[in-house]
């Protein structure tokens, strides 16, 4: 089992190395357009320069900060709204088509409205990220509220519990499993939202780096932004994985 795990790790590493070497060589010998596709050495150099100019962590911090705030806000707000809708199911029935419509609308389309409403600042970036995750989260949590274990529900009926006790002891804990398993999707969706927001309005952040690189035709900077973003996304994924495993132990 351990050997298989090691083999998988080795193969992953091997594929990445082969990919990077091929990319470097293809770019070096002008088989691919090095201006458009850049090369791993140029990207590394660009990231090093960002680091020595004290710019790298400024951009990462801004994006990370926006992502974490949006992520936490999205979970808290969607949880509260889901509890409200669970209590007033008729309201949910009334707004369900609207939620589905809003959810399927490309969020980039409502970006300009968000900027006009909330200003050209970080708030708009967070709202853009929320616009991507919030409705999906509400629908997921609300449905998990509805799908509680029927036997447990009947058992609580035999105890004559109040509506609040049912919510506290059955409905909310039942949804933890769904909530935990949606954390990974949530963090990547939030990151997408933040980058999209940074494309629209920002003075710093990884999204800003990418959009700035495009504007000045510095495609190495664009590629560096993408590499930093992928690394950040992977680190966030690992962190959420650890949190998820810890929570699973206690809550499921």
């Amino acid at each position: 089992m351990k050997t298989k795990k090691l083999l998988i790790h080795f193969l992953r590493f091997f594929i990445i190395i082969i990919f990077l070497i091929s990319w470097e060589l293809l770019s070096k010998y002008h088989i691919i357009n090095s201006f458009i596709f850049s090369s791993p050495s140029k990207i590394l150099d660009c990231i090093r320069k960002l680091y020595t100019n004290n710019n790298l962590f400024i951009h990462i911090n801004v994006t990370l900060h926006e992502t974490i705030i949006s992520f936490i806000l999205s979970i808290i707000i969607s949880f509260i709204i889901s509890i409200f809708l669970y209590h007033f199911k008729t309201i949910f029935k009334v707004i369900e088509p609207l939620l589905t419509m809003l959810n399927s609308t490309p969020k980039i389309a409502i970006g300009p409205i968000i900027i006009i409403l909330f200003g050209a600042n970080q708030n708009s970036i967070i709202i853009t990220a929320l616009s991507i995750t919030l409705i999906l989260n509400i629908l997921t949590i609300y449905n998990s509220f509805l799908n509680t274990n029927i036997y447990l529900e009947n058992y609580l009926k035999t105890l004559n519990v109040t509506k609040f006790q049912k919510l506290k002891y059955l409905v909310i804990p039942s949804s933890y499993k769904t909530l935990i398993s949606s954390l990974k999707i949530n963090i990547s969706m939030t990151l997408i939202g933040v980058i999209m927001g940074e494309f629209l309005v920002s003075k710093a952040g990884i999204g800003y780096l990418i959009i700035y690189g495009t504007q000045v035709f510095n495609l190495t900077l664009v590629m560096s932004g993408i590499v930093i973003l992928m690394t950040l996304s992977y680190i966030l994924y690992l962190v959420i994985n650890i949190i998820e495993n810890k929570l699973k132990k206690y809550l499921t």
Binding site: N149, L152, K157, T158, L159, Q165, L170, P173
Partner: protein
């Protein structure tokens, strides 16, 4: 023994799914304090529906039940499924019902956990328990309420034969020691005969009371000892005939 605990009068139940389906017809019975009653009948005849109506989980279509006690706080219901909270450990599951009713029975529940061999597992979660252990935990949770009326809906059906005999005996002893009135729904006639003071036989759907047997065993006999008595076989035959078990 002669004080009434509940009285069921002219009870009828109809389910309205597409067309009305009569499930229970004219059920009349008085249940007395400390009695152990079993309800037997063919599968799907309405035994559990009757139990659900007694537990206030379902409403009768007509007729009524008179409770001669505060029925909201003193009914313990154990269902076929253990219905344990997967996110609570054994101890918290065991204390759950008492907590909901603001009853402090911690020592009593601890003793029950010890008695049923679950004390060493009190920090484990339901997913780490066997089927039998889950069922025992569900029983402890129900008994932890010290209910006046204990409703058991085929609670031993998921246990192996040996555990079934031993746990049903324990429930019988506990009910008798604490004067808890017990209504057991079961499809197992032997179980009903070995445990009960009276057995109510329901007919096929729509169910009416086909027969009520007051069992004449020596009061000091344990459930397992009843199984060796000649009377046991006689009752088995009578009830079996009522349920058309020996046809073909």
């Amino acid at each position: 023994m002669n004080d009434k605990l509940l009285s069921i009068k002219n009870l009828n139940k109809t389910f309205n799914v597409n067309e009305p389906i009569n499930v229970l017809i004219n059920i009349n019975i008085d249940i007395f304090k400390g009695e152990f009653i079993s309800i037997v009948g063919t599968s799907g005849c309405g035994k559990s529906t009757l139990l659900n109506i007694i537990a206030n989980l379902d409403k009768e279509s007509s007729g009524y039940i008179n409770y001669f006690f505060d029925n909201t706080d003193s009914i313990g219901y154990m269902m076929q499924e253990a219905a344990l909270f997967p996110w609570l450990n054994v101890e918290k599951n065991a204390l759950f019902a008492a907590k909901m009713k603001n009853i402090n029975n911690n020592n009593y529940i601890d003793n029950l956990l010890k008695k049923y061999g679950l004390y060493e597992f009190k920090y484990k979660y339901p997913s780490e328990l066997s089927g039998g252990m889950k069922q025992r935990l569900s029983l402890i949770r129900t008994l932890g309420l010290k209910p006046k009326l204990l409703l058991l809906d085929e609670p031993f059906s998921q246990l192996d034969y040996q555990s079934r005999i031993s746990i049903s005996s324990d429930v019988y002893k506990l009910a008798k020691e604490n004067n808890i009135t017990t209504i057991l729904v079961t499809h197992d006639i032997s179980e009903a005969i070995s445990l009960s003071d009276r057995i109510i036989v329901l007919s096929k759907r729509p169910a009416h009371i086909k027969n009520i047997y007051s069992l004449q065993f020596d009061k000091n006999l344990l459930p397992i000892e009843r199984r060796k008595e000649k009377l046991f076989l006689s009752y088995y035959e009578l009830i079996g005939k009522d349920l058309d078990m020996f046809e073909n």
